[in-house]
């Protein structure tokens, strides 16, 4: 019953999102596009945090990688081809995630948190110091990637309405893809890693390989979000690798409710909208933002999605936590 209501409201929300361009202005559509890309980023992190039990504080490494790869693949005053560059970005991000994953997954628990953060910082410091990447000022992508397939151009990313729909379709696509993955044997196995890795290993599952595969999928999807984010704003800078972004996306996952796929989407919408509201009110919006984060951790232990659960089952979140 509850699940049916959740599914119905999710569908209604999607239909509303599809209709918004009829009434929304340019600023609103761009904000929503940004949120949907963040939702993709958050879903990819949730695959690690919520489903595999790996708390990464360096997921922005892949988001930034996707963005910088688009910059790198774009000729200075011409468009790169969307499809070709996407294939390249996915391939490079997957290989990078494989390399980093095989290193960081040698650690676990609190080590994993610190090591992932340190690796993301490595990207941050490298780009900050690298003149050929624009250094700390960042670099511009003057022409958006072109979606042309031979002579046919299905859509134009420079048009904000069309970009909005691309982001929406991408978000739904990633949602369905991750849902499919999670329902497969592989998906069950990584969730088994989260609840009891030793048991799974003694059942003969190569848990390291499962974790690595999860890390690679998460990193690749995050790089897609970064790619389109850079395509939206036409600008990359080292902050894309920054720990602030990693923390923010982790907050989206937790706030929305980890271990569900619609949770991170919900979290992305709530967090970015709150952020935008606060930033409109005061220059020092990070102060109320920080308090908001602290209070959410203390009083909403299972996120917004968990709050719903709490209401519907009438048991305290603390019990559910144990």
């Amino acid at each position: 019953m509850n699940q049916r209501i959740a599914r119905a409201s999710f569908l209604v929300a999607l239909i509303l999102l599809a209709l918004i361009p009829l009434i929304g202005d340019k600023y609103e559509l761009q904000l929503l596009s940004k949120i949907m890309l963040m939702a993709i980023f958050a879903m990819s992190l949730d695959l690690l945090v919520g489903f595999t039990g790996l708390v990464s504080l360096g997921h922005a490494a892949f988001f930034g990688l996707g963005g910088y790869l688009l910059w790198f693949l774009s000729p200075q005053y011409a468009a790169t081809n969307l499809w070709l560059s996407l294939v390249e970005v996915v391939a490079i991000a997957a290989v990078t995630a494989l390399l980093i994953g095989s290193l960081v997954l040698r650690s676990s628990g609190v080590y994993f948190i610190m090591v992932t953060l340190a690796f993301a910082q490595m990207f941050f410091y490298y780009t900050t110091g690298a003149k050929w990447l624009g250094g700390s000022d960042g670099a511009y992508i003057y022409v958006r990637p072109s979606a042309a397939i031979f002579d046919w151009v299905p859509f134009n990313l420079a048009n904000y309405v069309q970009f909005y729909y691309v982001a929406l379709v991408l978000m739904i696509g990633v949602f369905l893809l991750l849902r499919m993955i999670l329902r497969s044997l592989f998906g069950r196995a990584i969730q088994g890693v989260k609840s009891n890795e030793n048991r799974l290993r003694s059942l003969g599952f190569p848990t390291f390989r499962y974790k690595l595969a999860s890390f690679v999928i998460a990193g690749t999807v995050a790089s897609l979000a970064g790619y389109f984010s850079a395509a939206q704003f036409g600008f990359v800078n080292p902050e894309l690798f920054g720990w602030k972004l990693s923390g923010e996306v982790l907050m989206m996952v937790i706030l929305g409710g980890m271990g569900t796929l619609y949770g991170p989407i919900l979290g992305a919408f709530v967090l970015v909208l709150v952020e935008t509201e606060l930033a409109g009110m005061t220059k020092h919006w990070l102060l109320p933002m920080g308090l908001f984060v602290i209070l959410a951790v203390l009083f909403l232990p299972r996120g917004i999605a968990g709050m719903r659960l709490r209401l519907s089952f009438g048991r305290s979140a603390r019990e559910a936590d144990a």
């Binding site: 948190i113 090591v115 410091y125 923390g247 984060v293 951790v297 203390l298 232990p301």
Partner: protein
Amino acid sequence: MSDGLIFFLIQVLNGIQYGLLLFLVASGLTLVFGIIGIINLAHGSFYMVGAYIAFSLVRATGTLWLAILIGLPLTMILGVALELAFFRPLYRRDHLYQVLLTYGLILVLEETRSILFGDDVHGVQVPALFDFSIPLSGGLTYPVYRFVISAICLLVALGMYFVIQRTRLGMAIRAGASDREMLQSLGIDAGLLFRFVLAAGLTLAAFAGMIAAPVASVFPGMGNQILIISFVVVVIGGIGSIKGAFIASLLIGLVDTFGQIWAPQIAGMTVYVLMAAILLWRPAGLFGKRA
């Protein structure tokens, strides 16, 4: 001695000084994790808090020593207050929530800093007593205050060693690191011990910020910068190991200093490459216990 050798020597001294300072920050981080089991991202912010306290108190009192004397109890009180308000509810919860809450704490501390002091870079006067340089051959000189920093850090490190290895308090701390329940059953108040360890760790970080202020300048991103390097120290040294933190700090101080001379294009990355290599070799760090 040739100029080249002198230059090399100066860099070694700089590296050691940086490493020792790093140790003050990282040892608190590793202790708090080893004993309480808490990952505290806001640890680096206390380095920043210390530096800004030094900056404002030096302006008010005129001397760094007085600023430190007033500043240390202040940061200790702040540490205890934060423990009571935020950290205590976190002790039994997942690392994930510790990361998030302390992430929120960083935002609050950083913005409070921005409201109180703005976002400019500030300097702090080197204490007059040590405001001179030792002339070395070839017109090169070495500022005495850097020696003073190294000496203070070494004294603190020795003091820590003594407290942890030779006193009842240190016994309780070591016991807390290995078995919390046993500690309780021996009649030691673990809650009180944890509060002390957390506040002492934060105070150490703040103290590092205070004595570093005259050489490192006081700027907005300083807390996060030192936090991330401290993480690298803890990962290399092994979580919970003071000895590991000490050796890893010196290693990183030297690698970072020489990285900037020998490989300036990738200077920011050298310590992370070192970390990756050590992870490959010993996943639990140099002195860490295998999980």
